[in-house]
């Protein structure tokens, strides 16, 4: 298949829909579905039929971001972006006739959700560029917006070395949280001797508070498959696995549909796009174990074993699945690949900060007005994200802390909110980017309690393979429990701090090494809350 053929196909698909002038888009991602978007979609479809708007199409689309206002419905001219559409919030099936009647006339004011607010206008969407615009179950829809062109271009006009060069130039770093340079990782695997190699997509989004990967898989699954296929071509792999959490049934279903359709259309399988390149993708279901986000544990789980990590080296790049070189990247990392190939590495590198290129998708949750998904350039300040884009703290309460990076991260107080968010600046604050979950806490949260919550999490998610993590997290949890109940002494606090160092320094994998982070960061910024809970020094 040549690029021209694909472009022709895309033009044809667009032509078939040429009679459609306006679109009514209903979010059918998990969050809006739980708020009842499917009945809304049905109601709109039947209203469309009865009210006979022939030039109007009602369709289900992926996540539009503002989950707290769901179900969301957007009415727009075809091909118009989300912030150019008329957006309706908290829609019920009863609103369907009014919405359909308004398609070609004045909008329904009582349902409007302004799209000129910073939540929409301050975003820059690369990973989420199709999210909320295309039907996630439609391969035609994906091709019509230029999907799979990057893959076909890579296969027909670029050598694997060219692909590696673009990805390296882009400066993309792993979006799963580690921030390892993607180009470097890919090059390492490409350099391994030819033979069986694997590409694995880590979709085991275990960080509580993070739902970016879920939204990407539910909104634009082909984008992830395209990124994986390009990666496989670049490193010389022929087999891929997507390791998805079983807690995300809708994401699994959409991914299955996408794999089936991509295979039938020749974008996956034996001869991808009529070239000699072969790439098969299989889904592997997780079974609820946070430690499986750790790459060596994830590989063990794919092999059907308990998800326990092993020491590195050897790194997966050298000896991964069944001892073969294995490339593991996160969903969001793969979702960045197609635009990098399409627009070039330099284009990507021009976005973001010196050390962190591109954009980052964040999941805003907790005590914040606009909860949902946003995508902003790296380097946007936390204050901007929380106060401007997120709309600040509801109910007139005061901000207390924002937690980044899940249980491996830390809590940042008000004083540091002006820091530009990137991998390195967050590290200086004693936290990490993680996969991008931002949980905002207001003055009602007790930070010692929060630390105990995370330690409880790490304790019960510890796989038990190494002692520092298994026993250390248990002991730390017990100490924090004593402290929160106001029964702790200064000696307990000192012991807790000591344990933080030991567990961090001696644990086998990332889970244990980072388990003390929430304690250390709350101790660093909110020590007075710990002190206030101590018993007298007697």
């Amino acid at each position: 298949m040549h690029l021209e053929d694909l472009a022709e196909q895309a033009a044809q698909y667009r032509n078939e829909d040429a009679h459609i002038e306006r679109e009514v888009r209903v979010c059918v991602a998990a969050s809006c579905q739980s708020s009842g978007s499917l009945p809304v979609l049905e109601a709109l479809k039947s209203a469309c039929d009865t009210q006979g708007a022939g030039s109007c199409k009602v369709k289900g689309v992926g996540c539009m971001g503002l989950c707290s206002a769901g179900p969301l419905v957007a009415v727009a001219d075809k091909d118009c972006a989300l912030n150019e559409s008329v957006l309706y919030r908290d829609v019920t099936p009863d609103d369907a006739p009014d919405i359909m009647a308004s398609v070609c006339s004045t909008p329904v004011e009582r349902l409007r959700c302004p799209t000129d607010q910073p939540f929409f206008s301050r975003q820059q969407r690369i990973v989420l560029e199709h999210s909320g615009l295309i039907d996630p179950d439609s391969l035609r829809g994906y091709i019509a917006v230029g999907g799979y062109a990057a893959l076909v271009r890579a296969l027909t006009e670029m050598t694997p070395a060219d692909v590696l060069r673009e990805v390296t130039t882009s400066g993309l770093r792993g979006r799963g949280g580690g921030g390892y340079p993607t180009g470097l990782k890919w090059s390492t695997i490409a350099k391994m001797p030819p033979g069986q190699k694997y590409v694995v997509c880590n979709a085991d989004e275990g960080d509580p508070g993070a739902f970016m990967d879920r939204a990407v898989l539910e909104s634009d699954p082909h984008r992830v498959l395209e990124g994986m296929a390009i990666a496989a071509y670049a490193v010389g792999a022929s087999k891929g696995y997507v390791y998805v959490r079983a807690e995300y049934p809708l994401a699994v279903e959409r991914l299955e549909t996408a794999i089936r359709k991509a295979k039938r259309a020749g974008f996956l399988g034996a001869k991808v796009a009529d070239t000699q390149f072969a790439f098969e993708v299989e889904i592997r279901l997780g079974a609820g174990a946070f430690v499986c986000g750790e790459e060596t544990a994830l590989m063990a789980s794919i092999e059907g074993l308990r998800g326990q990590p092993r020491p590195r080296p050897p790194y997966p790049a050298e000896s991964g699945l069944w001892g073969c070189p294995t490339l593991i990247n996160n969903v969001e990392t793969f979702a960045n690949i197609a635009p990098i190939i399409r627009e070039g590495g330099d284009w990507f590198a021009a976005i973001g900060t010196e050390g962190s290129k591109g954009t980052k998708v964040f999941a805003l949750a907790g005590k914040i007005k606009n909860t949902g998904l946003i995508e902003v350039p790296m380097g946007t300040s936390l204050r901007d994200i929380i106060e401007v884009i997120g709309g600040g703290i509801p109910d007139g309460r005061a901000f207390k802390a924002v937690q980044t990076g899940g249980p491996s991260g830390g809590c940042i107080p008000e004083a540091h909110l002006d820091i530009p968010v990137d991998y390195d600046s967050l590290k200086t604050l004693g936290t990490i980017m993680g996969s991008g979950g931002l949980i905002v806490m207001d003055e009602t949260s007790c930070m010692v309690d929060v630390a105990r919550f995370f330690m409880e999490f790490c304790m019960s998610e510890s796989c038990g393979k190494c002692i520092p993590c298994r026993a250390g997290t248990w002991q730390m949890h017990a100490l924090l429990d004593t402290l929160t109940k106001g029964r702790g002494t200064r000696a307990d606090l000192a012991l807790l701090e000591d344990l933080c160092d030991v567990v961090r320094a001696t644990s086998l994998c990332g889970l244990g090494q980072t388990a003390p982070n929430p304690v250390l960061s709350t101790l660093r910024y909110f020590r007075d809350e710990y002190e206030a809970k101590l018993l007298g020094d007697a």
Partner: protein, 164 residues
């Protein structure tokens, strides 16, 4: 040439075993398909009992200890039958911040069971999940597979009471 190990007979003529067998066959009876197989047993029967664990072990030619080890390692696998309805309270950070603890306490008080337990009449199992990824709708609860957002104890109990 070594002969492939003989496949054990199905434990009973329950048709659901055929679903389990189909999963194993699709994966070529490979040992690495263990987790997929356990998922399919749990989808079919609701939980994993000793019979099914032994059957899977024999079919995939794995030691029972290993199958048991994997089944108990992952949170999703249940070794006890669930009630007719399940209520999974999300205990992720966002839900915690917004009051998941209160929801669990409310349910404990109303039904007299702890997370992981089932009511005496087998009607309802109360479970917890680490994070269901519906953080924008915190606190979230999954009732019989359906995610319900922004829950409070009284509305949740009312919803659960309406189930047959």
């Amino acid at each position: 040439m070594t002969q492939p190990p003989a496949r054990p007979p199905l434990p009973s003529d329950d048709k659901r075993w055929k679903l389990v067998n189909a999963t194993m066959r699709r994966n070529g009876y490979a040992g690495h398909a263990l987790i997929e197989t356990l998922h399919s047993v749990q989808d079919a029967f609701g939980y994993l009992d000793e019979t099914s664990l032994r059957f899977v072990a024999a079919s995939l030619d794995l030691p029972v200890s290993k199958v048991f080890g994997v089944a108990t390692f992952y949170h999703i696998f249940m070794l006890k039958p669930k009630g007719r309805h399940t209520c999974v309270v999300c205990t992720g950070t966002a839900c915690y911040i917004k009051g998941a603890g209160g929801l669990i306490e409310g349910l404990q008080e109303h039904y007299g069971i702890d997370p992981g337990e089932t009511t005496g009449d087998d009607r309802l199992s109360l479970l917890t999940a680490r994070c269901v990824g519906a953080c924008g709708l915190a606190p979230a609860v999954v009732v019989d597979g359906e995610v319900l957002g922004k829950q409070a104890t009284d509305t949740l109990v009312a919803t659960l009471e309406e189930l047959s």
